[in-house]
Every structure is written in C-alpha cells, then in structure tokens.
C-alpha cells in the first residue's frame, strides 16, 4: 500500500462516493443499493462477500453507517488516503446542501414541490433497499442454517425490536460456537 496511488484513481473514487452521498436519502441503509450498484456490480472493486462483511462491520461500529462503510471501502481500496478521500466524498454533498439550507431553511421547509418530490422518492427507496437484500441473497445463504439465522434475526428485529448490533454479534458468535462444535463432533466420529 506504499506505492504511489495515481491521483486519477483517487479522484475517480472520490467522485463515486460523492454521487452516492448526494443521493442517499433516508439514512445509511438507503446507501446500500447505491453502493452495491456502483462498487460491486459496475466497477467490480468488491465482491458480494466482502460487501456484506463491510456492511456488518459498519453497522456494529459506532457512528453513521454511511461514513463507516465509505471509510472501510476507501481503506480497503487505497489505504489511508483512500479512507480520507472516500469519507470526504460521502460527507461533502450533505455538508454543502445543509450549508445552503441553513441559509434559507425557513423558505425551503414550506416548499410544497419539495415535499411532493419526497413523497415519490420514499416508495422507490423501499424497493431499492429491498432489492439490495435480494441481490445479496446468494452470497449470504449457503445452506439451510443461514436461512434459519436470517429468519431468527428478522423475527428479533421485527417483533422484539432487538438492536441491530446485537443481532449481528449474536449471529456471528453462533457461527463460531455451532461450527466449532460440529467440527469437534466430526473429529470424534473419525476417531
């Protein structure tokens, strides 16, 4: 990671994050379909497995998920300069927009066209976020246990309102414990 990274590549990455930052409405999760379309499908910088790992870590660490995941992806691609540039690209659009809004915010707030536009955006966002789940399906589900884990997590989130961090950690720990036990058993069989 010490060799010189071409400025052009960094700028290209900056621009990718800037675009995503400019269109991420509705919080960090709305960013997932955009990031997947850009980095996994189009640019092929990450595969689906890596992408899922990055989302898991970004969700479990404190801070905004959007910032966490862009820093992680930037760091994975181009080290520390990559992390800095990716964070800047993600933050800059909202920074500039809020700065503009802070100047005229009383006026914008009551603009009916703005409110109507957002009534259109949100249903589309639901579809986009759902599609990200469906697209990543294959990478996440390797066997029936995985489907069971997803179902349990979903029930925990929906019905019992468990915090996302705990579902992710519990799923991971169950993986370590369950699979270790299985391996132990198999060793026993051979013996």
């Amino acid at each position: 990671m010490n060799e010189k990274i071409p400025f052009r590549k960094l700028f290209f990455m900056f621009w990718a994050f800037f675009k995503i930052g400019a269109f991420t409405l509705g919080g960090g999760f709305a960013m997932i379909p955009l990031m997947k379309a850009e980095f996994v499908d189009k640019l092929k910088w990450l595969n689906e497995d890596e992408f899922l790992d990055i989302i898991a870590v970004s969700q479990c660490a404190p801070g905004a998920v959007a910032i966490n995941s862009s820093i992680y992806i930037g760091y994975r691609l181009y080290g520390l300069p990559g992390a800095a540039i990716a964070a800047l690209g993600t933050v800059l659009p909202s920074f500039l927009i809020i700065l503009a809004v802070a100047l005229v915010y009383a006026k914008i707030r009551s603009m009916p066209a703005v409110q109507k536009a957002f009534r259109g955006v949100y249903p589309a966002l639901v579809v986009l976020v759902m599609s990200a789940a469906i697209n990543l399906w294959k990478a996440a589900f390797k066997n029936y246990v995985d489907i069971g884990i997803a179902a349990i997590c979903l029930a925990a989130l929906f019905i019992f309102d468990v915090h996302p961090v705990f579902t992710v950690l519990a799923a991971g720990i169950s993986g370590v414990l369950f699979d270790l036990r299985k391996e132990h058993g198999e060793e026993g069989d051979i013996g």
Partner: protein
C-alpha cells in the same frame, strides 16, 4: 473555544451512537439540547425534517447545521470533522485487524454467519422505510413502477430516485 467545543460534542456523538440513522437522534439531542443548549427542541425537530429531505447521514446533517448556526462556516467544518473522526479511527483499526486475522478459522466462521443477519437487517430497513412511506395507492403505484424500472429496464438506482421524485410531484 467554541470550535473545539463543537468538535468535542460531535466527536462524542460519533463515538457513542450505535446503529446509524435515526438511532443516533437521542445521542445528538442529548449533546445539542440537553448539555450545550445550542438549539431549542423546535429547531432540533426542524433539523430532523431537513435531514429527511436532504441526502446524507443525519449525524452529518445535524453537525453541519448546528456548527454553522453556532460558529459559521468553520463551526460547521469543525462539527462535521468531529462526527466523522471516531468512525475513521475505529473503522480503520477494525479493517486492519480483520485483514490481519481474516484467515483465522473462527473469524471466517463469524463472518459467514453474520451475512444472513445482514440480509435480515436490510429487509428490516426496507420494512421500516416502507411502513412510513407506502401508505396510499399512489405510493404503491410508485413502488411498483420502481420495481419494474429496476428489474425490467435495469434503470440505475440514482436515476430511479430522480425519476421517482418527479413522479411524486406529478401524482401528489
């Protein structure tokens, strides 16, 4: 000095708020209203409304807005850097450690089992977005069009959002 105070308040927000998005609101509220008294509760509600209508993480939006209100342009820079700084340190540390230990068997198993949980998280996020935004027949119509656009016509997600905003203006 006010710039340092802003940085520190938002540094704490970045450090202690887990879960991102709206899960961060109580943390932000505590620092900005309860501890520092930088905004009134009404102004804080406005920030949440603005954050809903503008792109980007809500924490960044709040940082930029509050920073600007308290100390102008450099205030907003200071607060925004503050909110992103903990993420940078923590994520880079984690990324470094994961890279180093990713080949260990139990770390691999951990992540293999975490993946289905991430799918559940994303489905849950879609559900909570939908619960509040798909309430009438018009919203269902837009969602169906988005579905068709995405899967039949392979429209780029960003373009899809722009088109949906026009549709929102036309239909409402």
């Amino acid at each position: 000095m006010i710039l340092i105070k802003l940085f520190w308040a938002f540094f704490k927000i970045g450090l202690f708020s887990f879960g991102g998005g709206y899960a961060m609101i109580p943390f932000i509220q505590r620092e900005i209203i309860d501890i520092n008294g930088w905004l009134t509760p009404e102004q804080f509600m406005d920030i949440i409304a603005i954050s809903q209508m503008t792109p980007g993480p809500i924490a960044v939006n709040a940082a930029t807005f509050v920073g600007y209100k308290i100390a102008g342009f450099w205030g907003s820079v200071s607060a925004t850097c503050g909110v992103a700084a903990p993420s940078a340190v923590i994520i880079i540390t984690l990324a470094f450690m994961i890279k180093k230990y990713r080949s260990l068997k139990w770390v691999d198993r951990f992540f293999l089992r975490v993946r289905p949980a991430v799918i559940a998280l994303i489905v849950n996020a879609a559900y909570s977005l939908g619960k509040n935004s798909i309430t009438g027949i018009k919203d269902v119509f837009i969602a169906v069009l988005a579905l068709l656009g995405l899967y039949m016509f392979k429209i780029n997600p960003i373009l899809l959002i722009v088109l949906a905003s026009f549709l929102g203006i036309l239909l409402n």
